[in-house]
Point group: C2
Chain length 276, copies 2
């Protein structure tokens, strides 16, 4: 198998930096020393494991990309940019024939799919790159579709803790509530207990100090009407390592699709999980 | 909808008594005042919510059943008998045209299915009547089939607590380990932590006193190789109420199948869950 060239965009952002670090240490990959970056970034370069990466502003990308393609050969792109840039970035990748992996919760999804499907490239686009959480959501969706009303009469409690900076309720928690609703449980997303206070996170949840600034802990508890049955599902993520690993798996998946000639197709993390 | 006549066999056993109690208080059902019982039972009758039920030994059943059918009209049977009696009981029900719900973990399963399929009746047969646990197992099976290797590199811990009298490791826990193995986790059923000591159950697990003599608590914990991700799945059942409720649902399901003319068909709790 040949080395997979990857351009990680969104540097010097945290998650982009983590993914670029993984790729630079993984013999299957070679990091392309260029990265598209946001208008708020002042730096013109950054360093990833001794690789000096040149940062490119949006207004420069069209003029520079052909030259990068010529100097680097074919490559995959990874995109962790601001939700507001999702659609324009996807159009950019499609216009220049660059297959990409995009982790995003924003943008116009239907337009995104239309852009990819009408293009000459393939892409993996997912709101959550953590494979195991995506897998657990798929299990819940399967139950909701196949066993409607399974937990009728049960009482649900949902609590989630994230770093203080996350203002909104977790999208994963909201999606899970949707599945529980189909399973017969009366519960509103407004009743999700949202914890953002570091002192509570330490004292009541036992979240380690070093992860107070970046974590996602979720617990779903179901209790039967007569109190004799209790189900509890927990998924606790510290840091962003699991998202970086999922991104690497998505790149390996996309590379194989590109190698076998797949064009104009949008994949999700569920496809990556199924490895089909 | 007409009243559903049900003969609950295995009285005066605990689970049979619980199911009979439910049926006697539920306007949709009418309890048939006869019950097939085991050779170890000395009594010739027992009382369920003021209904006097006559107990019938196996050597008397063939001679009495036709008379019961004539006096009671069509009825469904519920069977919670010893694993050693599973196959002969199923043959009895089939021979006399009695649709039945059977909760069992013993007997020759293939022979059981052959008996039902070649008969003129329909039956629901399941190793576990607790609908929600069966549903959770089905979710795990779905993941194991569709996302093999999803938890590769994760460490698994399984612990289960049951009443002291249960000598063997929980069959549900063993089945779950099989799914986790398919999901990429190296774990042997021998490594399941089995708790049977009431003092530990009280002190370490917090199991209520009144359920030390009858409970099934299970916890499965997965931790990623780098320790940053933790999943935990728990299902705790106190007493036998959930099994009785599942049996009632199985009876409602079977009744509809019988009403619509289904013959020679064996259903599982998954069919009941799907309500297809």
């Amino acid at each position: 198998m040949s080395t997979i060239n990857v351009m990680v965009n969104g540097l010097p952002g945290n998650l982009a930096r983590l993914v670029a670090g993984h790729l630079s240490k993984d013999g299957r990959f070679k990091l392309v020393p260029y990265s598209l970056t946001g208008p708020e970034i002042q730096e013109t370069g950054c360093s990833v494991s001794n690789i000096s990466v040149q940062l490119i502003q949006a207004d420069q990308r069209d003029s520079q990309i052909e030259q990068i393609k010529q100097s680097q050969g074919a490559f995959l792109s990874v995109d962790f940019t601001h939700p507001s840039a999702v659609n324009s970035n996807a159009e950019f990748y499609c216009r220049f024939g660059l297959p990409f992996v995009m982790g995003t919760t924003g943008g116009d999804c239907q337009k995104l799919e239309a852009t990819v499907v009408s293009s000459s490239i393939a892409a993996v686009i997912a709101p959550n790159m953590a494979k195991q959480i995506v897998g657990f959501q798929a299990m819940m969706e399967y139950a909701a579709d196949n066993f409607p009303g399974l937990f009728r009469g049960y009482t649900l409690n949902v609590k989630e803790s994230h770093q203080r900076g996350k203002a909104d309720t977790s999208g994963t928690a909201k999606a899970m509530v949707g599945y529980f609703n189909k399973l017969g449980v009366a519960f509103s997303t407004e009743d999700i207990v949202k914890v953002r206070e570091p002192e509570d996170q330490k004292a009541q949840w036992g979240i380690p100090d070093e992860y107070l600034s970046g974590h996602g802990w979720h617990t779903y508890t179901l209790v039967s009407e007569d109190q004799t049955v209790r189900f509890e599902f927990t998924h606790n993520v510290n840091g962003r390592e699991v998202y970086a690993r999922g991104t690497v798996d998505a790149l390996l998946y996309l590379f194989e699709k590109v190698q076998t000639g797949t064009r104009g197709k949008m994949f999700t993390m569920i496809d990556v999980l199924k490895n089909i």
